[in-house]
Amino acid sequence: MTTSSVRQAPSADQVSLVGGTRRHILDLDDFSTQELDLVMKTTDAMAEVLGREIKKVPTLRGKIIITLFYEASTRTRVSFEEAGKLLSADVINVSASGSSAEKGESLLNTVRTLQATGADLIVVRHPHSGAPYFIARNLEHTNVINGGDGWHAHPTQALLDLYTINQHLNQIQGTRVVIVGDILHSRVARSNLWGLTTSGAQVVLCAPPTLLPQEYLDGSYKREGNPLAAVEVETSIDRAIEGADVVMPLRLQVERQETGLIPTLREYSKMYQVNDERLARAKPDALVLHPGPMNEGVEISPQVAHGGQALIEEQVHNGVAVRMALLYLLMQPSRGRGGGQR
């Protein structure tokens, strides 16, 4: 079997990082522009596969992918499963409920067990930030992809956001991207910050002060040597959204009201909801992205969510192609490494 059934896919060896030493995708902080570019180009190739009548290729036949989810998920888990299956890998889904984790098995023993069963790659989602790093350092053979860890990172979501923006604007460099909402607790925002900043976007973070990390609130992030020092922080959505190319409201969890971070959802929606009136302050035809699941009427108005500028379903669709690209880049048999070694 060859990889020729995926046409136009660039060779991973063209880029040193992916072609060289990368075994895991844990966040985007260690992605260079070249590597991001490789992922985008590979995603194009996968999108072409997805557009075929029979959208399945044999590229990863014989590979075993396990999705290990300690948190609820629809789009991430399903799109990974789909991505793996379309590349002909065998995909096994494990969720914390119904697994031996429920019997109190430690995370370490669970992932070592999965490695011992022959898993080539584990996609993990975990409520604790850093859990994928813990897993990666305790597995010798199995590749790890972070499917979302606590408040920390969600690199595959950020990559599909980058891909979607790129598709519509043809470039990221110089665009103004406003992320609005619960920045403090958002792994999507954190990973997008790396991906967008590395790609040359101007990122604006907008939230009430209680939903901003302390270093953004007190300005200490503007220190020398911080690669994210150029990020703009704004507590007024009207100012933040001015001239934006992309607006990305984040899901607001109901618990934020219960724990006193905001007075009420009602007040939050009045102050921070992305609605038609506010969107009008952005550039004409500004893109609206949302990582989902949406709380329509809270962080985003139904009119915007279902309006012509929203790309929410496109994001989901692109998510499959991006994840196919990542699985391919980490596991392609021609590399003779990664998951193949045991």
């Binding site: 850093g130 790093y133 305790n138 792994r187």
Partner: protein, 463 residues
């Protein structure tokens, strides 16, 4: 070696900040006490059969005193026992340690204090002094029987691991203990501000996407307790200060002549929050995270703080705002740390690396050797009061608790070599310069890597 065998330490640099001594000289130990300490002892004055340690190039200091260790016994003997903790202390140069009462059962009554003292006698290596609970079961609801605890031998009271959060109860504790002449040792942390937070709030917590433990959670409690100590006249000792703001609060209180005392750990003096991002042999990593990030061995309460806090703690230690260095030795089982950062236990096993890590501060000229030794000896001894006035000094006639240090000897931290059951340190693999080469407790060699003092002595000290 039997306890009353005479021992001569010859040609060491004698450093005793309690008397201002800093000279090349000899120490003669007889019957467990210091017979002579000072200028070279003539051969004719050395008793026959005396063991001689040739100590030129070494420092001889009073045995170190650690106001804050967790020996986990009773209840958590898989993490540490009083015997293994005592040996770890001996290896670290500590001849007196104060045991925190967060055991199971908690040390909130005389019978548990008795048990700890008995286990310490059985271990028979160093002096173990118990700290009693402030509140029954460390629950922060009702005062423990502080008088009875003091009669049993408690040298202070603390609910360490948790603060005495209720301000009214803290007021009563300070007032009540003032008649006993013993301190309330506060773990200063407002739990409402730090709940479920594994790391310092700021750059690190945002970088790692973790709930942050703000400096203010410590500082509000420090400020509150200073006011309550003022109100009651009670004796307040602040455990493991970790922030620049806390140092300022204590400094201001001392300027008003309030009798507040405070301690700081070696890790808060030498490590910053970046260590949680993982490290190599050179130190903490910066730049993109690697799979070594979220190092659970750098998770400690209070958390490692910023470079600015570290600098303020060093300044506070130097200018006397902070009275003592205490390790907060907190050993854990390996599986307590082989989990996600959120799930990992707080704590660093610190007794065996303390001196080596702290000597770096002397080499960087952050501290003088004299101040470092003072904060490990006379400083903590002062807080133990009259009853233990002979500790922390090498005065003639006093107890022969002595540590010999090779200030230039380099060694690599290998947790496999720890005597402590707790292998949890972020310093694994680091090269430290400065090593405890022998520890003498009550006139006996309880730890030594010196050829002329080693094999027999350690074996017999154990036996």
């Amino acid at each position: 070696m039997i306890a009353n065998e005479p021992l001569l330490i010859r040609g060491a640099r004698l450093i005793d900040p309690s008397t201002g001594m800093d000279m090349i000289g000899d120490i003669l130990v007889m019957d467990g006490n210091i017979q002579r300490a000072g200028s070279a002892i003539r051969n004719g004055d050395v008793p026959s059969g005396c063991r001689v340690i040739e100590a030129s190039g070494l420092l001889a200091c009073p045995g170190f005193i650690d106001l804050h260790v967790h020996f986990r016994e009773p209840g958590y003997e898989d993490k540490e026992t009083i015997a293994t903790g005592s040996l770890a202390a001996a290896r670290g140069g500590f001849t007196t340690v104060c045991c925190m009462p967060n055991t199971d059962p908690a040390m909130d009554n005389a019978s548990v204090v008795d048990y700890v003292l008995r286990r310490a006698r059985e271990a028979d290596l160093i002096r173990v002094l118990p700290i009693g609970c402030v509140t029954k079961g460390r629950e922060g609801k009702e005062l423990a029987e502080l008088w009875e605890l003091s009669q049993a031998g408690a040298v202070g009271f603390s609910d360490d691991g948790s603060p005495v959060a209720d301000p009214n109860l803290m007021r009563q504790a300070l007032a009540y203990s003032s008649s006993l002449g013993l301190p309330i040792i506060q773990h200063a942390e407002d739990p409402n501000l730090s709940q479920d937070a594994p790391v310092n709030e700021g750059e690190l917590s945002n970088r790692l996407g973790l709930r942050g433990w703000p400096a203010a959670a410590e500082e509000t409690m420090v400020a509150r307790d200073i006011a309550l100590a003022q109100l009651t006249g009670g004796q307040l000792h602040l455990a493991h200060l970790s922030t620049a703001g806390s140092v300022n609060l204590v400094r201001q209180a001392k300027e008003r002549n309030q009798p507040i005392t405070a301690e700081v750990t070696p890790h808060h003096l030498t490590l910053n929050e970046r260590w949680v991002q993982g490290h190599d042999e050179e130190g903490p990593l910066s730049g993109p995270l690697t799979s070594t990030a979220y190092d659970t061995n750098a998770k400690v309460n209070p958390p490692l703080r910023t470079e600015r806090d570290v600098a303020a703690l060093i300044t506070g230690l130097r200018d006397g705002t902070i009275d003592a260095i205490a390790t907060d030795h907190a050993p854990h089982v390996v599986t307590d740390k082989l989990v996600s950062l959120n799930d990992a236990a707080f704590g660093i096993s610190g007794l065996e690396t303390a001196l080596g890590a702290l000597m770096g501060l002397v080499r960087q000229s952050d501290l003088t050797l004299n101040i470092l030794v003072e904060r490990l000896t006379a400083g903590p001894a002062r807080l133990l009061g009259e009853k233990y006035a002979s500790l922390g000094t090498i005065r003639e006639g006093g107890t022969a608790d002595i540590v010999l240090v090779d200030p230039d000897r380099e060694w690599v931290v290998r947790v496999g070599e720890f005597a402590s059951k707790g292998k949890n340190t972020p310093l694994e693999g680091m090269t430290l310069r400065g090593m405890v080469v022998a520890t003498i407790s009550g006139g006996r060699i309880v730890h030594s890597v010196l050829l002329d003092a080693q094999p027999m002595a350690v074996g017999e000290a154990n036996g």
